[in-house]
């Protein structure tokens, strides 16, 4: 166990020296570590964005009403609002934060991914607009067979 940990530390150190700068541009795992440990979505959102009052109704989320496979729940997020950052959270797993997208210049808010959900829970998306305001949307996704290694 110790040897493996020691080796992986070495690998990270070695990789850090050869990674192209583009790869570590905005790494929210590095910048906001607490957000990734937070259990609930409210806590994770606060750790990531601070105390915000997001505007609702501007983001459309496409998710199955009932997900048959909790190991791969498709989530689509779309909005006409110009944004820089889009974060996805869920209250189905031991920790809430799933992924934080950062859009480049010319980025369009139209994203899709697949997530794991152990059980029926709310999925929340919070986006930071180029106008400095925050936008959010919450949707309940029912899960028939949980998928998080379980």
């Amino acid at each position: 166990m110790e040897r493996r940990k020691f080796l992986s530390l070495g690998a990270v150190a070695a990789a850090a020296t050869i990674l192209p700068s583009a790869v570590s541009a905005t790494d929210f795992r590095v910048e906001k570590p607490a957000a990734w440990q937070a259990e609930g979505s409210a806590e994770a959102i606060k750790a990531l964005f601070g105390d915000i009052t997001p505007i609702e109704g501007k983001i459309k989320m496409k998710a199955p009403k009932l997900a048959e496979n909790g190991g791969a729940v498709p989530i689509g997020m779309k909005s006409k609002v110009e944004v820089t950052t889009v974060a996805l959270f869920q209250d189905a797993n031991p920790r809430s934060a799933v992924v934080v997208f950062e859009l480049g210049e010319g980025g369009v808010f139209d994203l899709k991914t697949k997530i794991k959900m152990r059980k029926t829970a709310n999925v929340t998306v919070v986006a930071k607009g180029t106008d400095g305001k925050f936008y959010s949307h919450v949707q309940k996704v029912e899960v028939s067979i949980g998928g998080c290694g379980g």
């Binding site: 790869v23 929210f28 697949k114």
Partner: protein, 101 residues
């Protein structure tokens, strides 16, 4: 890594399928495998970053990503290559890419 990039109605739609167990600590303990998941992904075109993702183990195994960008705003056009790279918690890196069709 599989990447597809298609220009349609003035925007480029990119699909990425990366290979990784995306096993966090609970899953790794249960399956008796190592903790192994992608932590960051980047997509660039002509050296300009068009999309990034800070990722965690609650994405599905072999994560699927889809994003859209306006090529005009980054000086990209059909035939330019969308390059995607990722790094995981163990420092493993992978690169892939596809020309915009």
């Amino acid at each position: 890594m599989k990447v597809k990039a298609k220009l349609k109605k003035g925007v480029v739609s990119v699909k990425v399928l990366a290979k990784s167990p995306m096993a966090g600590k609970e899953e790794a303990a249960k399956k008796k495998i190592d903790v192994e998941f992608i932590t960051h992904m980047t997509a660039t075109v002509n050296g300009k970053t068009v999309w990034e993702a800070s990722t965690g183990p609650f994405l599905s195994k072999n994560p699927y990503m889809q994003f859209v960008f306006n090529p005009e705003k980054v000086g990209a056009k059909k035939g330019d290559k969308v390059e995607v790279s990722w790094v995981d918690n163990n420092g493993k890196t992978k690169k892939g890419g596809k020309k915009i069709k």
